[in-house]
Amino acid sequence: MEVNERDPVSGRETTGHEWNGIKELDTPVPRGVLLFLIVTHLWAIAWWFLVPAWPLGTTYTRGLLGVDQRQTVEARVVDGQRERAAWMARLEKEPYDAIQADEALMQTVRNTGRQLFGDNCAACHGRDGKGRANYPDLTDDDWLWGGGPQLIEQTMRVGINTRHPESRVGQMPAFGRDEVLDRDQVRSVAAYVYSLSHPDYSTADNLKRIEAGREVFLTTCAACHGEDGKGNRDVGAPNLTDTHWIYGSDLDTIIASVHGGRQGHMPTWDERLTTAEIRTIALYVHDLGTQQP
């Protein structure tokens, strides 16, 4: 039997071994630790009885509470639907003007629409809805397909240029690339279009080119954009005379639009979002700045 040393500081015995100067005290495991051990074990055992816990070959113990995370979340989702039911049902069914007349309900639309718009639409149209290059501004009251809530809802449901059977189809042909117009014509018509929104461009120098472009425009473009260039909602052709542009209002971008065409793709939301959500967003978007009914 080794004679164990006593540590002067704690008064405890060592275990009698030494490793390169290191010794160990033979202190018993503190009570608290054992207690803590017992408490955590009891807690764990209780838990194993209550919920799914131990595997048994081809099955597992289900637990006395009979819960499973999947049923739990589905119940929570249903709870959520119930919580929202009152206003959701109204948003789902009531006509838009009735909803718009109800300021309290519109506040709900603003509160909830922000997140829905943020998680679904903002990637393209921006968190503020103001769009950016290639994606239209939804706050400027200038619409390809119409800015009333009903029309916005329709646009969201079917999308633009999608494979949805009723998709809105807005196709700006590639006049340059497909050789419908030659280089010069493309430049002229672009100059003309540019002049529509930039009056000071119509200087004496440019007048000839603009005039030539006007000819092309009337024969080629007016079918969609209208003789006055103010656009046409039936084919989703934008107004070319204002300051709102999807792709850009500088001359180069306009040339690119005419040369290569444009077929913006707006996804459908029919399946991803519920009717109430779609209508909430439609009202939210309308509320961003649009006056149109």
Partner: protein
């Protein structure tokens, strides 16, 4: 008494080794082995399809670029996740995933159901420079993807390896892997039809990056992103989540 036992144990290196192995083995065996024996672990999904070669190539790019470091592909059974991202993920949805890409960090949003949410064009713009479309984003720009041609000649090897591990690719699919990858990204060529015959009419055939002539890494990655959440509709059945089923054609 236990100390006496232990004092013996700690005098024997081999004894210690065996004891450590014994103590450390139990947990893993009890938790992992039953995942293969309990049938309900992986749900039934008769409509489940495999990744096309192009999508598989895209998945490998996703792995290579470390997208999983910021994006999860696992919607948890929590109300807010179901309401934000869609029905919670099922085990069957990653049944062909080797490795799985559930992720452990969401610096960016979950991508489990991102397929069909945005246009191909948006994905290309976003991957080219995320801040062009989402100014607040801190996601890296992946410009070189559109400049790099996809390496397709190895794809039969990839499918063969997957097949050897139990993914039900047919010999024909393995053989045509490179052609099918090319076809899926070049809609106007003869190769496009083969993809639909082998992988189903609902497979998205498209010039993903907008260029119809060359098949780039961007094509593959976008093809992969567009199929996320759309290999099977199982998650939409028997769930309280209100959304409709995904339409693989978008």
């Amino acid at each position: 008494m236990p100390e006496i036992f232990h004092r013996k144990l700690e005098r024997s290196a081999i004894g210690l080794v065996i004891a450590i192995i014994a103590a450390a083995s139990v947990g893993g065996i009890v938790e992992i082995a039953p995942l293969f024996t309990i049938d309900e672990t992986v749900e039934e999904a008769p409509d489940m399809r495999m990744y096309t070669p192009l999508e598989l190539a895209g998945r490998n790019i996703y792995v290579r670029e470390g997208c999983y470091a910021c994006h999860s592909q696992m919607i948890r059974t929590l109300r807010d996740e179901v309401e934000r991202y869609g029905p919670y993920s099922l085990a069957v949805e990653s049944k062909y995933d080797r490795p799985m890409l559930w992720g452990s960090k969401r610096t960016g949003p979950d991508l489990a159901r991102v397929g069909g949410k945005y246009s191909d064009f948006w994905h290309v713009a976003h991957l080219t420079n995320p801040r062009d479309v989402v100014p607040e984003s801190n996601m890296p720009a992946y410009r070189w993807l559109a400049r790099t041609s996809l390496k397709m000649e190895d794809l039969p090897l990839h499918l063969a390896a997957q097949k050897a591990l139990g993914v039900p690719y047919t010999d024909e699919m393995v053989e045509n892997a490179a052609r099918d990858a090319y076809g899926q990204a070049t809609p106007d060529t003869d190769f496009a039809a083969g993809v639909a015959t082998r992988y189903g009419d609902e497979t998205q055939v498209s010039a993903f990056d907008g260029v119809k002539t060359d098949v780039t890494e961007m094509d593959a990655l976008v093809a992969y992103l567009q199929i996320l959440g759309r290999l099977t509709g199982a998650a939409y059945e028997n769930t309280a989540a209100p959304e409709g089923k995904p339409n693989p054609e978008g």
